[in-house]
Amino acid sequence: MLKGGTFIYTLFILFITSMLALLFLGQNRLYSDEISRMQIAERLEENCLSAINYALEIPSESFQEGSYIDLFARGTDSVFIQKYTWGLMDVISVRAIHHKQQRTKTALLGYRPIDSLKTALYLSDRESALHLSGESRIRGAVFLPKAGVKRAYLAGAHYSGDSLIYGKQLPSQKTWPLSIAAKGWDTPHQQAERTLLDEESTVHSFAEPTLVLTETEELVLEDITLKGNIWVRSDSLVEVHPTAVLEDVIVTAPVIKVKSGSRISAQLLATDSLIVEEDCLLHYPSLIAVKSQNNGFISLAANTQVYGDLWYKNGQHLSKTSVEVNIDEQASLTGRLMAEQGNIQLRGKVIGEVFADAFILHHSLGIYKNHLLSAQIDRRALWEAYLFPIKAREKDQANVIKWLNE
Protein backbone atom coordinates (compact mmCIF):
# COMPACT_ATOMS: atom_id res chain seq x y z
CA MET A 1 0.00 0.00 0.00
CA LEU A 2 1.19 3.48 -0.87
CA LYS A 3 1.87 5.89 1.92
CA GLY A 4 -0.26 9.09 1.94
CA GLY A 5 2.67 11.35 0.99
CA THR A 6 3.77 9.16 -1.92
CA PHE A 7 0.18 8.95 -3.22
CA ILE A 8 -0.20 12.73 -3.26
CA TYR A 9 3.22 13.02 -4.85
CA THR A 10 2.18 10.56 -7.61
CA LEU A 11 -1.06 12.46 -8.18
CA PHE A 12 0.88 15.72 -8.46
CA ILE A 13 3.27 14.24 -11.01
CA LEU A 14 0.33 12.78 -12.95
CA PHE A 15 -1.37 16.17 -12.92
CA ILE A 16 1.73 17.95 -14.19
CA THR A 17 2.23 15.29 -16.89
CA SER A 18 -1.37 15.49 -18.10
CA MET A 19 -1.25 19.29 -18.13
CA LEU A 20 1.90 19.17 -20.24
CA ALA A 21 0.33 16.62 -22.56
CA LEU A 22 -2.76 18.81 -22.94
CA LEU A 23 -0.60 21.85 -23.58
CA PHE A 24 1.37 19.92 -26.15
CA LEU A 25 -1.74 18.72 -28.00
CA GLY A 26 -3.36 22.16 -27.76
CA GLN A 27 -0.30 23.85 -29.18
CA ASN A 28 -0.17 21.50 -32.16
CA ARG A 29 -3.89 21.90 -32.77
CA LEU A 30 -3.49 25.68 -32.68
CA TYR A 31 -0.63 25.61 -35.21
CA SER A 32 -2.51 23.22 -37.40
CA ASP A 33 -5.72 25.29 -37.34
CA GLU A 34 -3.88 28.54 -38.00
CA ILE A 35 -2.01 27.11 -40.97
CA SER A 36 -5.11 25.55 -42.50
CA ARG A 37 -7.01 28.84 -41.93
CA MET A 38 -4.27 30.70 -43.81
CA GLN A 39 -4.28 28.15 -46.62
CA ILE A 40 -8.06 28.41 -46.94
CA ALA A 41 -7.89 32.23 -46.96
CA GLU A 42 -5.37 32.04 -49.79
CA ARG A 43 -7.52 29.53 -51.67
CA LEU A 44 -10.61 31.75 -51.28
CA GLU A 45 -8.69 34.71 -52.70
CA GLU A 46 -7.61 32.60 -55.69
CA ASN A 47 -11.14 31.27 -56.16
CA CYS A 48 -12.50 34.85 -56.24
CA LEU A 49 -10.10 35.72 -59.07
CA SER A 50 -10.90 32.48 -60.91
CA ALA A 51 -14.63 33.11 -60.50
CA ILE A 52 -14.29 36.62 -61.96
CA ASN A 53 -12.38 35.25 -64.96
CA TYR A 54 -15.00 32.53 -65.39
CA ALA A 55 -17.97 34.93 -65.17
CA LEU A 56 -16.39 37.42 -67.58
CA GLU A 57 -15.98 34.81 -70.26
CA ILE A 58 -18.98 32.55 -69.66
CA PRO A 59 -21.77 35.01 -68.94
CA SER A 60 -25.04 33.69 -67.61
CA GLU A 61 -28.43 35.34 -67.12
CA SER A 62 -28.49 33.93 -63.61
CA PHE A 63 -25.54 36.12 -62.60
CA GLN A 64 -27.81 39.18 -62.86
CA GLU A 65 -29.74 38.00 -59.81
CA GLY A 66 -26.71 36.31 -58.30
CA SER A 67 -26.07 32.59 -58.27
CA TYR A 68 -23.86 29.98 -56.64
CA ILE A 69 -21.62 27.82 -58.78
CA ASP A 70 -19.26 24.99 -58.01
CA LEU A 71 -16.20 26.49 -59.64
CA PHE A 72 -14.22 23.41 -60.63
CA ALA A 73 -17.06 20.86 -60.37
CA ARG A 74 -15.38 19.09 -57.47
CA GLY A 75 -17.78 20.08 -54.74
CA THR A 76 -15.11 22.01 -52.85
CA ASP A 77 -15.00 25.45 -54.42
CA SER A 78 -18.33 27.19 -54.00
CA VAL A 79 -18.61 30.79 -55.20
CA PHE A 80 -21.46 33.28 -55.39
CA ILE A 81 -21.34 35.47 -58.51
CA GLN A 82 -23.35 38.58 -59.14
CA LYS A 83 -23.10 40.97 -62.06
CA TYR A 84 -25.08 44.21 -62.16
CA THR A 85 -25.14 47.65 -63.72
CA TRP A 86 -23.65 50.62 -61.93
CA GLY A 87 -24.88 53.61 -63.90
CA LEU A 88 -23.62 53.03 -67.42
CA MET A 89 -20.92 50.67 -66.22
CA ASP A 90 -21.01 47.07 -65.04
CA VAL A 91 -19.92 45.70 -61.69
CA ILE A 92 -19.03 42.14 -60.81
CA SER A 93 -19.04 40.86 -57.27
CA VAL A 94 -17.91 37.40 -56.22
CA ARG A 95 -17.89 35.68 -52.84
CA ALA A 96 -15.90 32.50 -52.26
CA ILE A 97 -17.06 30.41 -49.33
CA HIS A 98 -15.55 27.60 -47.25
CA HIS A 99 -17.55 26.73 -44.12
CA LYS A 100 -17.42 29.86 -41.97
CA GLN A 101 -14.64 31.55 -43.94
CA GLN A 102 -15.45 33.74 -46.92
CA ARG A 103 -13.82 36.31 -49.16
CA THR A 104 -15.52 38.91 -51.35
CA LYS A 105 -14.09 40.82 -54.28
CA THR A 106 -15.88 43.52 -56.29
CA ALA A 107 -14.71 45.18 -59.47
CA LEU A 108 -15.78 47.67 -62.10
CA LEU A 109 -15.67 46.20 -65.58
CA GLY A 110 -14.32 47.65 -68.78
CA TYR A 111 -14.51 46.46 -72.36
CA ARG A 112 -12.05 45.99 -75.17
CA PRO A 113 -13.51 45.96 -78.67
CA ILE A 114 -12.48 43.16 -81.01
CA ASP A 115 -11.38 45.63 -83.63
CA SER A 116 -8.19 44.80 -85.44
CA LEU A 117 -8.67 47.91 -87.60
CA LYS A 118 -8.44 50.27 -84.61
CA THR A 119 -11.28 52.56 -85.61
CA ALA A 120 -10.53 56.22 -84.98
CA LEU A 121 -13.68 57.69 -86.51
CA TYR A 122 -17.08 56.43 -87.58
CA LEU A 123 -19.04 59.21 -89.28
CA SER A 124 -22.47 57.97 -90.27
CA ASP A 125 -23.45 58.41 -93.87
CA ARG A 126 -25.65 61.47 -94.19
CA GLU A 127 -24.47 62.30 -97.69
CA SER A 128 -22.06 64.99 -96.65
CA ALA A 129 -18.27 64.75 -96.95
CA LEU A 130 -15.88 65.33 -94.06
CA HIS A 131 -13.75 68.46 -94.45
CA LEU A 132 -10.40 68.89 -92.78
CA SER A 133 -8.46 72.09 -92.35
CA GLY A 134 -5.59 73.56 -90.38
CA GLU A 135 -3.70 71.16 -88.12
CA SER A 136 -6.44 68.50 -88.04
CA ARG A 137 -5.12 64.93 -87.86
CA ILE A 138 -6.93 61.60 -87.89
CA ARG A 139 -4.83 58.52 -87.07
CA GLY A 140 -6.42 55.09 -87.30
CA ALA A 141 -9.09 53.51 -89.49
CA VAL A 142 -12.02 55.71 -90.50
CA PHE A 143 -15.51 54.90 -91.71
CA LEU A 144 -16.71 57.78 -93.85
CA PRO A 145 -19.82 58.69 -95.90
CA LYS A 146 -19.68 57.92 -99.63
CA ALA A 147 -18.86 61.57 -100.28
CA GLY A 148 -15.49 60.89 -98.58
CA VAL A 149 -13.01 63.34 -97.08
CA LYS A 150 -11.81 66.66 -98.50
CA ARG A 151 -9.31 69.39 -97.73
CA ALA A 152 -10.88 72.71 -96.80
CA TYR A 153 -9.61 76.24 -96.61
CA LEU A 154 -11.09 77.75 -93.51
CA ALA A 155 -10.36 80.86 -91.48
CA GLY A 156 -7.19 81.46 -93.45
CA ALA A 157 -5.87 77.95 -92.84
CA HIS A 158 -5.17 75.20 -95.35
CA TYR A 159 -5.04 71.58 -94.30
CA SER A 160 -1.38 71.09 -93.42
CA GLY A 161 -1.00 67.30 -93.33
CA ASP A 162 0.65 65.05 -95.95
CA SER A 163 -2.28 62.72 -95.98
CA LEU A 164 -5.94 63.33 -95.15
CA ILE A 165 -6.33 60.14 -93.14
CA TYR A 166 -3.43 58.29 -91.50
CA GLY A 167 -5.04 54.89 -91.71
CA LYS A 168 -7.55 52.83 -93.66
CA GLN A 169 -10.69 54.40 -95.18
CA LEU A 170 -13.90 52.40 -95.30
CA PRO A 171 -17.49 53.28 -96.20
CA SER A 172 -19.88 53.99 -93.33
CA GLN A 173 -23.57 53.19 -92.97
CA LYS A 174 -26.43 55.39 -91.79
CA THR A 175 -26.31 53.75 -88.37
CA TRP A 176 -23.35 52.92 -86.13
CA PRO A 177 -22.16 49.40 -85.49
CA LEU A 178 -22.57 49.92 -81.73
CA SER A 179 -25.37 50.63 -79.31
CA ILE A 180 -25.53 51.65 -75.67
CA ALA A 181 -28.10 49.85 -73.55
CA ALA A 182 -28.00 52.32 -70.63
CA LYS A 183 -29.95 49.86 -68.47
CA GLY A 184 -28.63 51.26 -65.22
CA TRP A 185 -29.34 54.91 -66.03
CA ASP A 186 -32.29 55.41 -63.67
CA THR A 187 -32.10 53.02 -60.78
CA PRO A 188 -29.38 51.48 -58.71
CA HIS A 189 -29.15 47.72 -58.37
CA GLN A 190 -30.13 47.81 -54.69
CA GLN A 191 -30.91 50.93 -52.80
CA ALA A 192 -31.30 52.37 -49.37
CA GLU A 193 -32.62 55.84 -49.99
CA ARG A 194 -31.99 58.78 -47.74
CA THR A 195 -31.51 62.53 -48.02
CA LEU A 196 -28.15 64.22 -48.22
CA LEU A 197 -26.20 64.27 -45.02
CA ASP A 198 -24.32 67.20 -43.62
CA GLU A 199 -21.38 64.92 -42.99
CA GLU A 200 -18.15 65.99 -44.61
CA SER A 201 -17.11 62.50 -45.54
CA THR A 202 -19.03 59.42 -46.57
CA VAL A 203 -17.29 56.28 -47.77
CA HIS A 204 -19.73 53.53 -48.60
CA SER A 205 -18.75 49.98 -49.43
CA PHE A 206 -19.93 48.10 -52.50
CA ALA A 207 -20.70 45.18 -50.20
CA GLU A 208 -23.63 47.24 -48.86
CA PRO A 209 -26.77 48.32 -50.73
CA THR A 210 -26.28 51.54 -52.71
CA LEU A 211 -26.56 54.72 -50.69
CA VAL A 212 -28.81 57.14 -52.60
CA LEU A 213 -28.50 60.76 -51.56
CA THR A 214 -31.41 62.77 -52.94
CA GLU A 215 -32.17 66.45 -53.11
CA THR A 216 -35.11 68.12 -54.81
CA GLU A 217 -33.44 71.52 -54.93
CA GLU A 218 -30.10 72.62 -56.34
CA LEU A 219 -27.25 70.72 -54.81
CA VAL A 220 -23.78 72.16 -54.35
CA LEU A 221 -21.06 69.63 -53.59
CA GLU A 222 -18.24 71.43 -51.84
CA ASP A 223 -16.00 70.54 -48.89
CA ILE A 224 -17.34 67.02 -49.05
CA THR A 225 -15.86 63.57 -49.67
CA LEU A 226 -18.05 60.93 -51.30
CA LYS A 227 -16.44 57.62 -52.15
CA GLY A 228 -17.75 54.24 -53.21
CA ASN A 229 -21.27 52.91 -53.60
CA ILE A 230 -23.05 56.28 -53.53
CA TRP A 231 -25.58 57.70 -55.95
CA VAL A 232 -26.16 61.47 -55.72
CA ARG A 233 -29.41 62.75 -57.22
CA SER A 234 -31.00 66.11 -57.68
CA ASP A 235 -34.20 67.09 -59.46
CA SER A 236 -32.67 70.34 -60.64
CA LEU A 237 -28.90 71.02 -60.65
CA VAL A 238 -25.74 69.54 -59.17
CA GLU A 239 -22.67 71.73 -58.96
CA VAL A 240 -19.35 70.03 -58.23
CA HIS A 241 -16.72 72.32 -56.74
CA PRO A 242 -12.94 71.74 -56.60
CA THR A 243 -13.15 71.11 -52.84
CA ALA A 244 -15.39 68.07 -53.42
CA VAL A 245 -13.70 64.66 -53.53
CA LEU A 246 -15.72 62.21 -55.61
CA GLU A 247 -14.54 58.66 -56.30
CA ASP A 248 -16.50 55.93 -58.07
CA VAL A 249 -19.82 57.67 -57.34
CA ILE A 250 -22.71 58.43 -59.69
CA VAL A 251 -24.21 61.89 -60.01
CA THR A 252 -27.54 62.34 -61.80
CA ALA A 253 -29.48 65.53 -62.38
CA PRO A 254 -31.06 67.44 -65.25
CA VAL A 255 -28.09 69.82 -65.21
CA ILE A 256 -24.60 69.04 -63.92
CA LYS A 257 -21.83 71.62 -63.66
CA VAL A 258 -18.27 70.73 -62.80
CA LYS A 259 -16.59 73.90 -61.65
CA SER A 260 -13.16 74.98 -62.80
CA GLY A 261 -10.23 73.11 -61.24
CA SER A 262 -12.17 70.04 -60.04
CA ARG A 263 -10.41 66.66 -59.84
CA ILE A 264 -12.87 63.78 -59.63
CA SER A 265 -13.58 60.23 -60.76
CA ALA A 266 -17.30 59.72 -61.29
CA GLN A 267 -20.15 58.95 -63.62
CA LEU A 268 -21.93 62.19 -64.43
CA LEU A 269 -25.35 61.44 -65.96
CA ALA A 270 -27.50 64.39 -66.96
CA THR A 271 -30.87 64.54 -68.66
CA ASP A 272 -30.46 68.04 -70.05
CA SER A 273 -26.99 69.51 -70.02
CA LEU A 274 -23.53 68.87 -68.63
CA ILE A 275 -20.88 71.52 -68.40
CA VAL A 276 -17.27 70.83 -67.43
CA GLU A 277 -15.42 74.09 -66.91
CA GLU A 278 -11.74 74.88 -67.51
CA ASP A 279 -8.80 72.98 -65.97
CA CYS A 280 -10.80 70.01 -64.72
CA LEU A 281 -9.46 66.48 -64.54
CA LEU A 282 -11.78 63.50 -64.63
CA HIS A 283 -9.77 60.45 -63.64
CA TYR A 284 -10.05 57.06 -65.34
CA PRO A 285 -12.60 55.52 -65.43
CA SER A 286 -15.05 58.44 -65.57
CA LEU A 287 -18.16 58.92 -67.64
CA ILE A 288 -19.85 61.98 -69.00
CA ALA A 289 -23.31 61.33 -70.41
CA VAL A 290 -26.40 63.22 -71.46
CA LYS A 291 -29.59 61.44 -72.46
CA SER A 292 -31.84 64.26 -73.48
CA GLN A 293 -35.34 64.48 -74.87
CA ASN A 294 -34.97 68.11 -75.78
CA ASN A 295 -31.67 69.04 -77.45
CA GLY A 296 -29.51 69.08 -74.35
CA PHE A 297 -25.75 69.51 -74.61
CA ILE A 298 -22.32 68.61 -73.25
CA SER A 299 -19.46 71.04 -73.06
CA LEU A 300 -15.81 70.45 -72.16
CA ALA A 301 -13.95 73.70 -71.66
CA ALA A 302 -10.29 74.44 -72.40
CA ASN A 303 -7.54 72.51 -70.55
CA THR A 304 -9.97 69.93 -69.28
CA GLN A 305 -8.88 66.31 -69.45
CA VAL A 306 -11.32 63.42 -69.33
CA TYR A 307 -10.19 59.79 -69.03
CA GLY A 308 -13.19 57.64 -69.87
CA ASP A 309 -16.19 57.76 -72.19
CA LEU A 310 -18.45 60.58 -73.32
CA TRP A 311 -21.93 59.64 -74.55
CA TYR A 312 -24.65 61.93 -75.86
CA LYS A 313 -28.08 60.81 -76.96
CA ASN A 314 -30.83 63.05 -78.21
CA GLY A 315 -34.47 62.00 -78.46
CA GLN A 316 -35.06 64.67 -81.14
CA HIS A 317 -33.96 64.61 -84.78
CA LEU A 318 -30.48 65.85 -85.60
CA SER A 319 -30.60 69.63 -85.77
CA LYS A 320 -28.89 71.43 -88.65
CA THR A 321 -26.84 74.04 -86.86
CA SER A 322 -26.84 73.62 -83.09
CA VAL A 323 -23.87 72.26 -81.12
CA GLU A 324 -24.80 69.34 -78.89
CA VAL A 325 -21.29 68.26 -77.92
CA ASN A 326 -18.59 70.90 -77.68
CA ILE A 327 -14.96 70.08 -77.03
CA ASP A 328 -12.92 73.23 -76.77
CA GLU A 329 -9.39 73.82 -77.95
CA GLN A 330 -6.83 72.32 -75.52
CA ALA A 331 -9.49 70.03 -74.05
CA SER A 332 -8.87 66.31 -74.39
CA LEU A 333 -10.77 63.09 -74.05
CA THR A 334 -8.98 59.77 -73.68
CA GLY A 335 -11.54 57.09 -74.46
CA ARG A 336 -14.59 57.03 -76.66
CA LEU A 337 -16.73 59.94 -77.83
CA MET A 338 -20.24 59.04 -79.02
CA ALA A 339 -22.94 61.48 -80.06
CA GLU A 340 -26.25 60.04 -81.28
CA GLN A 341 -28.50 62.59 -83.02
CA GLY A 342 -26.18 65.39 -81.99
CA ASN A 343 -23.66 67.64 -83.74
CA ILE A 344 -20.10 67.55 -82.40
CA GLN A 345 -17.94 70.63 -82.43
CA LEU A 346 -14.51 69.12 -81.97
CA ARG A 347 -11.69 71.62 -81.56
CA GLY A 348 -9.63 69.69 -79.05
CA LYS A 349 -8.17 66.20 -79.00
CA VAL A 350 -9.61 62.71 -78.73
CA ILE A 351 -7.19 59.88 -77.99
CA GLY A 352 -9.39 56.96 -78.87
CA GLU A 353 -12.54 56.56 -80.91
CA VAL A 354 -15.17 58.98 -82.19
CA PHE A 355 -18.64 57.86 -83.29
CA ALA A 356 -20.49 60.80 -84.82
CA ASP A 357 -23.62 61.51 -86.81
CA ALA A 358 -22.31 64.94 -87.81
CA PHE A 359 -19.65 67.52 -87.00
CA ILE A 360 -20.36 71.21 -86.87
CA LEU A 361 -18.08 74.21 -86.64
CA HIS A 362 -19.30 77.57 -85.39
CA HIS A 363 -16.85 80.21 -86.50
CA SER A 364 -17.03 83.98 -86.67
CA LEU A 365 -17.13 83.58 -90.45
CA GLY A 366 -20.07 81.20 -90.43
CA ILE A 367 -21.35 77.77 -89.52
CA TYR A 368 -19.74 74.81 -91.29
CA LYS A 369 -21.21 71.31 -91.49
CA ASN A 370 -18.89 68.31 -91.11
CA HIS A 371 -15.79 70.48 -90.79
CA LEU A 372 -12.90 69.93 -88.43
CA LEU A 373 -10.51 72.79 -87.78
CA SER A 374 -7.30 71.74 -86.02
CA ALA A 375 -8.97 68.84 -84.28
CA GLN A 376 -7.09 65.63 -83.42
CA ILE A 377 -8.42 62.09 -83.36
CA ASP A 378 -5.74 59.54 -82.57
CA ARG A 379 -6.71 55.92 -82.06
CA ARG A 380 -3.13 54.68 -82.34
CA ALA A 381 -2.04 56.64 -79.28
CA LEU A 382 -4.44 54.63 -77.13
CA TRP A 383 -2.51 51.87 -75.40
CA GLU A 384 -3.10 48.27 -76.46
CA ALA A 385 -4.79 47.01 -73.32
CA TYR A 386 -7.07 50.04 -72.85
CA LEU A 387 -10.55 49.17 -71.60
CA PHE A 388 -13.53 51.39 -72.46
CA PRO A 389 -15.88 51.85 -69.49
CA ILE A 390 -19.10 51.40 -71.52
CA LYS A 391 -20.03 48.18 -73.25
CA ALA A 392 -20.91 49.21 -76.79
CA ARG A 393 -20.83 46.00 -78.78
CA GLU A 394 -22.10 42.54 -77.94
CA LYS A 395 -18.72 40.95 -78.65
CA ASP A 396 -16.67 43.41 -76.59
CA GLN A 397 -14.31 41.55 -74.27
CA ALA A 398 -14.84 42.30 -70.60
CA ASN A 399 -12.09 42.65 -68.05
CA VAL A 400 -11.51 44.26 -64.67
CA ILE A 401 -11.00 48.01 -65.00
CA LYS A 402 -10.78 48.79 -61.28
CA TRP A 403 -11.04 46.93 -57.97
CA LEU A 404 -13.55 48.54 -55.69
CA ASN A 405 -13.15 49.05 -51.98
CA GLU A 406 -15.03 46.44 -49.98
Binding site: E57, L71, F72, R74
Partner: protein
Protein backbone atom coordinates in the same frame (compact mmCIF):
# COMPACT_ATOMS: atom_id res chain seq x y z
CA UNK B 1 18.12 12.84 14.00
CA UNK B 2 16.99 16.45 13.14
CA UNK B 3 20.01 16.81 10.84
CA UNK B 4 19.08 13.62 9.00
CA UNK B 5 15.46 14.79 8.55
CA UNK B 6 16.62 18.13 7.12
CA UNK B 7 18.98 16.35 4.72
CA UNK B 8 16.17 14.06 3.63
CA UNK B 9 13.78 17.02 2.98
CA UNK B 10 16.43 18.84 0.91
CA UNK B 11 17.08 15.66 -1.05
CA UNK B 12 13.33 15.24 -1.77
CA UNK B 13 13.07 18.87 -2.99
CA UNK B 14 15.98 18.42 -5.38
CA UNK B 15 14.56 15.11 -6.52
CA UNK B 16 11.19 16.74 -7.29
CA UNK B 17 12.79 19.62 -9.16
CA UNK B 18 14.86 17.22 -11.24
CA UNK B 19 11.74 15.16 -12.02
CA UNK B 20 9.80 18.24 -13.14
CA UNK B 21 12.72 19.52 -15.22
CA UNK B 22 13.02 16.10 -16.83
CA UNK B 23 9.31 16.13 -17.60
CA UNK B 24 9.62 19.57 -19.16
CA UNK B 25 12.54 18.37 -21.24
CA UNK B 26 10.52 15.37 -22.35
CA UNK B 27 7.66 17.72 -23.31
CA UNK B 28 9.92 20.05 -25.30
CA UNK B 29 11.64 17.08 -26.94
CA UNK B 30 8.35 15.41 -27.83
CA UNK B 31 7.01 18.65 -29.32
CA UNK B 32 10.13 19.06 -31.38
CA UNK B 33 10.10 15.45 -32.55
CA UNK B 34 6.39 15.62 -33.39
CA UNK B 35 6.74 18.86 -35.32
CA UNK B 36 9.96 17.82 -37.02
CA UNK B 37 8.78 14.43 -38.15
CA UNK B 38 5.05 14.83 -38.68
CA UNK B 39 3.70 18.37 -39.17
CA UNK B 40 6.66 20.45 -40.28
CA UNK B 41 7.61 18.38 -43.35
CA UNK B 42 3.98 18.48 -44.49
CA UNK B 43 3.78 22.26 -44.09
CA UNK B 44 7.19 22.72 -45.63
CA UNK B 45 6.22 20.66 -48.67
CA UNK B 46 2.95 22.55 -49.05
CA UNK B 47 4.66 25.92 -48.77
CA UNK B 48 7.23 24.91 -51.35
CA UNK B 49 4.58 23.51 -53.69
CA UNK B 50 2.53 26.71 -53.33
CA UNK B 51 5.54 28.86 -54.23
CA UNK B 52 6.29 26.71 -57.32
CA UNK B 53 2.66 26.96 -58.46
CA UNK B 54 2.49 30.72 -57.90
CA UNK B 55 5.78 31.22 -59.72
CA UNK B 56 4.59 29.28 -62.73
CA UNK B 57 1.07 30.76 -62.78
CA UNK B 58 2.34 34.35 -62.64
CA UNK B 59 4.50 33.69 -65.69
CA UNK B 60 1.77 31.96 -67.64
CA UNK B 61 1.60 33.33 -71.15
CA UNK B 62 -1.25 32.31 -73.39
CA UNK B 63 1.01 32.42 -76.44
CA UNK B 64 3.30 29.73 -75.05
CA UNK B 65 0.80 27.31 -73.62
CA UNK B 66 1.60 23.63 -73.52
CA UNK B 67 -1.38 21.38 -72.88
CA UNK B 68 0.68 19.34 -70.43
CA UNK B 69 3.96 20.29 -68.81
CA UNK B 70 5.85 18.28 -66.24
CA UNK B 71 8.97 19.66 -64.64
CA UNK B 72 11.30 18.74 -61.79
CA UNK B 73 12.41 21.32 -59.28
CA UNK B 74 14.33 20.52 -56.10
CA UNK B 75 12.97 16.97 -55.81
CA UNK B 76 9.45 18.15 -56.57
CA UNK B 77 7.50 17.15 -59.65
CA UNK B 78 5.17 19.90 -60.86
CA UNK B 79 2.57 18.90 -63.39
CA UNK B 80 0.56 21.60 -65.18
CA UNK B 81 -2.41 20.74 -67.35
CA UNK B 82 -4.21 23.40 -69.41
CA UNK B 83 -7.69 22.80 -70.68
CA UNK B 84 -9.19 25.53 -72.93
CA UNK B 85 -12.79 26.39 -72.01
CA UNK B 86 -13.30 29.16 -74.57
CA UNK B 87 -11.00 31.19 -76.81
CA UNK B 88 -9.90 33.32 -73.85
CA UNK B 89 -10.59 31.17 -70.83
CA UNK B 90 -8.38 28.30 -69.72
CA UNK B 91 -8.70 25.88 -66.83
CA UNK B 92 -5.24 25.43 -65.35
CA UNK B 93 -4.64 22.43 -63.10
CA UNK B 94 -1.49 21.96 -61.01
CA UNK B 95 -0.43 18.79 -59.21
CA UNK B 96 2.72 18.76 -57.10
CA UNK B 97 4.32 15.63 -55.68
CA UNK B 98 7.61 14.71 -54.09
CA UNK B 99 9.17 11.23 -53.87
CA UNK B 100 5.96 9.80 -55.33
CA UNK B 101 3.92 11.37 -52.52
CA UNK B 102 1.11 13.77 -53.40
CA UNK B 103 1.60 17.25 -51.92
CA UNK B 104 -0.92 19.63 -53.44
CA UNK B 105 -3.46 20.15 -56.21
CA UNK B 106 -4.75 23.53 -57.36
CA UNK B 107 -7.09 24.81 -60.06
CA UNK B 108 -7.39 28.23 -61.62
CA UNK B 109 -9.36 29.91 -64.38
CA UNK B 110 -6.95 31.95 -66.46
CA UNK B 111 -8.22 34.74 -68.71
CA UNK B 112 -6.14 35.72 -71.70
CA UNK B 113 -6.09 39.51 -71.67
CA UNK B 114 -4.57 40.33 -75.05
Amino acid sequence: MRKNTAKLKAFTLIENMVSITLLLLVFVGASYVFLEFSMLPKWRHQLKAQSFIEQDYSRLSADRFLALKVEQKENYEIQRKIDPQTERLYLVNYKVSTENRFVMEKNYYYLKSE
